[in-house]
Each structure stands twice: as structure tokens, then as C-alpha cells.
């Protein structure tokens, strides 16, 4: 749909120069979604055309009368379905909220409106953001645009797939344990998990509040930076939101990293990491060196404790946060119950899917009398030590370079079979959430089957600008981020008995778009 290599920021400039209208962009985006959605399955809701056009006209008016400017004015955006959007169904990909239409906007949605960015639709995700394949969604499967037999990752799989497929130029995701960075890696797009507190959580349906962050997803680093700039505004409605003055992130997208010190933690390259992924990260390290950075392998202690600590804490917070789904004030309610207790039990058992129930049970257990200190508090203390371990590393290094995921996108239907194994695959991303650090995930190559590999750059608190500068410099040198999935070439084969069999042949995904 969009011209080759055109960024969202460039498209917005065209809008502001009246070379194209907001209506035309909306129309083109809707056409692209219609064309590709049957295959991708990224959206749970696409907003009504007449409402979008009405919104487009209002934005056009603001552009025309000079009251609207900004890096992304007029660019449609897809929003993950756990971010409340006034008047637009917000389901969290759960039966529990299947018909929930929020009576208020999240701060993020409010900021999109202020920036003149129409919300084109709401994207699929793992139910209540619990999962890393988007397969725990109660409604549909989202396919990886690079290979439809593979998962898009998760939990922001719908947002990342929509961007990778070229249905939208930008999207919002949320990241509690890697839910932006891992699907971004699997789908070959760029995603940022900001420093905890940078983006307001007001109106983000809570999973684990001490780690949840909303962040941008786009096809390239500078669009992500521009969208983060839109989102990073102080909000008194979120008591953990931080008043930052350094939010001109787009300006940090300059190709200059001479003297930057990058640490390469060994454990991220060995413990269960696929050899092709590890090699892609080492290759990226060489590119950084060529570009003027100093890269060193080092030991980052305590990495192995991050996954168990994360799951104990996240499930504990989730069990508490999801108590609010009681069938009374909003959401699903079971029918014909004998009494209130019965209604609570039936509502929650019918409304939540298996993965959500599994995490609520674990969280309830670790918070219960007798186990609180042994599990929950122990994990909180481990969190302190893991955070200190990062702080120590940042005394030496400006950034840390790791894979965004230990593997490339797994085959659909395989990852959810063993929950513990699925949890362990989050080892590259969860330490960052425990410590509240900012990190970016961006493409850095392909495996032998043509699936994208993503690298992660982690910085100390509030170092988004350094991260973005390094990511942008790498992107400009490598060009990986501007590539898009090759449309499948339909091949007709005849079976032995002469019946027609259709299969999808696929070239290695190397073409630049």
C-alpha cells in the first residue's frame, strides 16, 4: 500500500504539504487491511469507515487551519486491544470483555487523538497479555506475515503482524515481560519498551502493574521514536508516571555512535539460544564495531533467576489485578446463578481462558498465607538484585546488546503445549521489565528458513535517546528494518492421482519494500 521505504514521518510531511489527504490515507489503509487481513488475522476490530472518514475530516480541518502539526499528524495507527478506547470495543482478547465498550479513553488513546492520529482498529493479542504467541486469544489466530505457519509472537502479536504485513505503518503494543520486543523480533519490525513510567498506564487494562508499559511499534526506528514522542507525556492519573523533559526522541535518530560502549552479556548467547540467532547478534556486534562502537563480551550475573522471579511476581500481580472481573460492573456475567458466590465462580471460570486461569491460580498461591515470604517476597528480593546487576553493568557500558528472543518464530500450535517451556523462552526480555529499563527490538538478519531475527538494545533508565541513536545508526547501515515479507507465490502442484493441490511456495524474504 505505502510507497517503498516511505516512513510514517515522511507520509505525515506529505499530508501537511497537502500532497495527499487524510481521507486518502484512511482509504488506502482500510483497503490494505481488507486485502491482507484474511491471511494475517491481526485485527479484532476495524473501526467503521464512516466514523473514520468523519475523524479524517476533522484532522484535515486541523491541518488546514494550522492548529495541527507534529511528526505523525494524520497517520492511522492500530492499537492493541488492552488499551481502552472510548466508544471502540476493547476486549483484551478475552470472553470476559467480549462486548466491553470503554466509557473513557486511555491516556495513550487521548494522546493519539491530540496528535491527529486516527485509531484504525484494535489488534489481537494473548488474552489479558498473558502469552508469547498470541495463541491464547479467545477469538482468533494471528499469523506471522513472513510465514503463515508460524506465530507472530506475543502478546502484542496483532500489532506487530499488522505493521509487518503493511496493513498499518504504526501500532501501539504493551510490554510486561517482552510483549512488544519479542513479537517485533518474530515479525521483523521495530518495537520499544520505554523506561517504566514514561508512558501513562491510565486505561491500559492491567496485567502486572509494576512492569506494564505501553510502547510504539513501527517498520523503522525513526517512526518508533516519533510515536514514543507522542506517547511520553506526564499523566497525574498514573501515580507511577514520570515527568520527563527529554522526550524529543525523534531528534536522537542520528547516525553517530563513535565511542559508544556496548556490552554483550554471554548468558544471552548461550542459555538455550539458537545458534543462528546467536550468530546474527555477533554479526550485529561486528557492524556496531565497524560503525565506531566498542563492543565487549562480559558476564552479567543473575540472568538465570529472572524468569522464575518474573513469573512469580507477574502472576501475583495478575491475580490481584484480575479480581475486578466479578461480573457486576462490566464485562461478562454467567447466567442463572444461585447466589452471588456462585455468580463470581461461574463468571470467572467461563470468562477467563486456560492460560489466564493458570496464572491467577499461581499468583493466588504465592500471595496466600504461608507462601508469601517463601515465593513472592523472595522474588521481589531477586528483582532488587537483578536490577542492581544491570546498574553495575551500566557503570561500564552505555548499552547492552542481546537477542530479543532466543529463537525465531516457532510453528503455530507448538509453543503453548508446555507452559513452563513457553515461560522459559522469555529469558531475553523479562529481566528488562524487572529492572524497569528501556529497550528496543529491531531486525538484524534472517535465519536459514527466511524468518527475521531481532536484536535487543537495553539501556539504563531514561536512556531512550542513546538506544534510539544506536538502533538508528545500525538500521541505516544494515537496512534490515525496511524489508517486508514477500507475498506468498501461489504454486499449483498436481498430486499423484491428478488432483490439484495448492501450496504456498516462498522465496527467501530478501526483497526490500
Amino acid at each position: 500500500m505505502y510507497p517503498k521505504n516511505e516512513t510514517a514521518v515522511e507520509m505525515s510531511r506529505k499530508l501537511q504539504a497537502k500532497e495527499v489527504s487524510v481521507r486518502e490515507i484512511i482509504q488506502e489503509t482500510l483497503q490494505s487491511i481488507r486485502r491482507k487481513e484474511q491471511k494475517t488475522g491481526a485485527f479484532l476490530t476495524v473501526c467503521a469507515e464512516d466514523l473514520l472518514f468523519a475523524q479524517a475530516d476533522r484532522i484535515q480541518q486541523r491541518l488546514n487551519d494550522g492548529t495541527l502539526s507534529g511528526l505523525l499528524a494524520g497517520i492511522p495507527v492500530a492499537v492493541k486491544d488492552n488499551i481502552c478506547t472510548r466508544g471502540i470495543r476493547t476486549t483484551c482478547a478475552s470472553r470476559m470483555l467480549e462486548n466491553f465498550i470503554p466509557p473513557y479513553n486511555s491516556k495513550a488513546a487521548e494522546l493519539l487523538e491530540k496528535a491527529g492520529m486516527p485509531i484504525i482498529g484494535k489488534t489481537n493479542m494473548d488474552e489479558f497479555a498473558m502469552g508469547n504467541t498470541t495463541e491464547t486469544s479467545a477469538f482468533q489466530q494471528t499469523r506471522n506475515p513472513w510465514n503463515d505457519g508460524r506465530v507472530p509472537g506475543g502478546s502484542s502479536g496483532g500489532s506487530c503482524a499488522a505493521v509487518a504485513a503493511g496493513e498499518v505503518m504504526a501500532a501501539l503494543g504493551s510490554d510486561t515481560g517482552g510483549s512488544i520486543r519479542q513479537p517485533a523480533a518474530f515479525c521483523g519490525v521495530v518495537g520499544i519498551k520505554p523506561t517504566y513510567g514514561t508512558v501513562s498506564r491510565h486505561g491500559l487494562i492491567a496485567y502486572a502493574s509494576s512492569m506494564d508499559q505501553i510502547g510504539p511499534i513501527a517498520r523503522n526506528v525513526s517512526d518508533c521514536a516519533a510515536l514514543l514522542e507522542v506517547l511520553a507525556e506526564y499523566d497525574p492519573m498514573d501515580a507511577t508516571c514520570i515527568r520527563r523533559k527529554d522526550t524529543d526522541f525523534f531528534s536522537s535518530c542520528i547516525p553517530e555512535i563513535t565511542g559508544l560502549k556496548i556490552g554483550l552479556p554471554k548468558a544471552y548467547l548461550t542459555d538455550g539460544t539458537d545458534s543462528e540467532v546467536a550468530q546474527a547478534i555477533l554479526d550485529a556486534a561486528s557492524v556496531f564495531e565497524t560503525l565506531g562502537a566498542e563492543v565487549k563480551l562480559f558476564d552479567l550475573p543473575l540472568t538465570e533467576y529472572a524468569v522464575p522471579a518474573y513469573y512469580l511476581l507477574a502472576c501475583a500481580e495478575a491475580s490481584s489485578n484480575l479480581e475486578r472481573f466479578d461480573g457486576i460492573r462490566y464485562g461478562y456475567r454467567s447466567k442463572d446463578n444461585a447466589d452471588l458466590q456462585d455468580m463470581y465462580m461461574e463468571t470467572r471460570s467461563e470468562g477467563f481462558g486456560p492460560e489466564v486461569r493458570r496464572r491467577i491460580l499461581l499468583g493466588t498461591f504465592v500471595l496466600s498465607a504461608g507462601y508469601y515470604e517463601e515465593y513472592y517476597q523472595k522474588a521481589q528480593k531477586a528483582r532488587t538484585l537483578i536490577s542492581q546487576s544491570f546498574q553495575k553493568a551500566f557503570e561500564t557500558y552505555d548499552l547492552l546488546l542481546t537477542p530479543a528472543a532466543p529463537v525465531t518464530a516457532p510453528a503455530a500450535g507448538t509453543a503453548c503445549l508446555d507452559p513452563l517451556r513457553a515461560y522459559m523462552s522469555d529469558l531475553c526480555t523479562v529481566p528488562v521489565n524487572l529492572a524497569g529499563l528501556p529497550a528496543v527490538s529491531l531486525p538484524c538478519g534472517f535465519d536459514s528458513t527466511g524468518l527475521p531475527v531481532g536484536m535487543q538494545l537495553i539501556g539504563k533508565h531514561f536512556s531512550e535517546k542513546t538506544i534510539l541513536r544506536a538502533a538508528y545508526t545500525y538500521e541505516q547501515a544494515s537496512g534490515f528494518s525496511c524489508r517486508a515479507p514477500q507475498p506468498p507465490t501461489e504454486e499449483i502442484h498436481m498430486t499423484e492421482n491428478g488432483e490439484k493441490a495448492e501450496i504456498y511456495g516462498r522465496r527467501k524474504n530478501e526483497s526490500a519494500v
Partner: protein, 107 residues
């Protein structure tokens, strides 16, 4: 050795979590939780003596705001999200006596 998870424990936890599990689900939950706690046992190797537990990672100060009235949704808008409402109030099953009738209760 991590805590041995029994069927009784799962039943008690599911009651606390207000989740109803059938026999098969209890067995599955027993297995899943045991597996997770065995894995979490790894944390026992970590010396956390004298370490403060971390509640959240970045902001360490109390945040205050003025106690001012601000705009929010109207009562009608908020009640419209409820599965059942009547006379401007949430409608819930009877809470005092047993029976299948619903009565009006203020939440």
C-alpha cells in the same frame, strides 16, 4: 524441595481465586503449579539476606496530587457497561438468602 502441591491445596486456592475447576482441571492445575514451583526453587540458591524487596523499579517517591474534582464518565455511561442494571443501580443475585431471584444491591 519445593512445596508439594496437593489436590486439597488446588481446591483451596481455586476457592480463593473464585475459579471453579472440574476434576480434570484440578489435576492439570496441580501438575502446572508443581512444575512452576519446582522451577522457582532455583531462587533458593540466591542469597537475598539483607536485600530489600523491590515493589516497583523506577519511582521511589510518594506522589501527591490535589484532591480536586475532575471530569469522569456519567453515571449512565458507567452503568451502561454493567451486565445488568436497574433504576440506576447494579443488579446482582440475591446476597443474603438462597434463591434464584435477583435483587437490587448498591455496589
Amino acid at each position: 524441595m519445593s512445596e508439594k502441591i496437593t489436590r486439597e491445596m488446588i481446591c483451596q486456592i481455586s476457592e480463593l481465586a473464585r475459579l471453579r475447576l472440574n476434576s480434570e482441571e484440578i489435576l492439570q492445575a496441580q501438575h502446572d503449579m508443581q512444575q512452576m514451583l519446582d522451577y522457582a526453587e532455583l531462587l533458593e540458591q540466591l542469597n537475598t539476606d539483607g536485600t530489600e524487596p523491590m515493589v516497583q523499579p523506577v519511582c521511589y517517591e510518594n506522589i501527591f496530587r490535589s484532591d480536586a474534582v475532575s471530569e469522569c464518565g456519567t453515571k449512565g455511561e458507567i452503568l451502561s457497561c454493567a451486565p445488568r442494571a436497574q433504576s440506576g443501580q447494579y443488579l446482582v443475585p440475591i446476597t443474603v438468602e438462597n434463591g434464584g431471584n435477583e435483587n437490587v444491591s448498591e455496589e
